[in-house]
Symmetry: C2
Subunit: 148 residues, 2 copies
């Protein structure tokens, strides 16, 4: 069994995607993060959901979450207001995590080794031009490896 | 809407749970990590799936994942052999990530603020004795907040 047998299709974003749209894409997928690709569809990094929250929520809430209780506004409004007109590029942390990539013929063990080196439970599958053809989640990988 | 409206039940492990069993629990749940609780059921930390792979796979594979291709053994066997007789405590990284916790009556925005502060897309819901009653995933939180 190889990488392309385990890979799933997932929506991606580019650095110029409005961050509001990225949040909706993230919420619509049951995935640990959003894969950011360049104009040619080559994966560059991953935007973690927790990072999105960090950028969207007022600092005083994060410093003292109990203060969030007094905000008399729908949570979604607070988040979308906090994001404003920013793009995905604006939301990425200064030290962007590398998104590991494998070729379609990588073995499952190779995928596991690549994932082990990163802290990201996502690996992109790329073709010979490094264009993304799919993605493998830790969960999907374990399911296949352990037959659960 | 409050934390207990969004919380789900998830299997937990303790530090003395055999790591092999923990891997099976992790694989059986579609979740970003395993919550580790103490004997009284109070959450202490979270074991990330990538950390499990890091502890289980031979070092030479992680240093050069292409070497994993030459291993002529089922991926599951390599992982379970690599884990051996270790326990969850043996798999946890030296700097254990704090698992954030909220009370059942926390607002969604409060949960989001707590999650934003950590890098972990999981928050435990605890009762007044700090015993875990459920958990909230980033995905579940976004679904409820944004109505997706």
């Amino acid at each position: 069994m190889h990488a392309d047998d385990v890979a799933i299709q997932m929506s991606t974003v580019t650095e110029s995607t409005p961050a509001r749209e990225a949040v909706r894409v993230l919420a619509a997928q049951d995935l640990p993060g959003l894969i950011v690709v360049d104009k040619r569809g080559r994966p560059s990094t991953v935007l973690a959901g927790t990072q999105v929250l960090r950028m969207a929520l007022p600092t005083y809430c994060q410093d003292d979450p109990t203060l969030a209780r007094v905000i008399d506004e729908a949570a979604a409004d607070v988040i979308f207001d906090g994001i404003g007109e920013r793009t995905v590029a604006d939301l990425l942390p200064r030290n962007r995590p590398d998104l590991p990539a494998v070729s379609a013929d990588a073995t499952l063990l190779e995928v596991a080794a690549v994932m082990a080196r990163s802290n990201v439970p996502l690996v992109a599958v790329v073709d010979k031009d490094r264009v993304m053809t799919g993605a493998i989640t830790l969960d999907g990988l374990l399911d296949r490896m352990l037959g659960t």
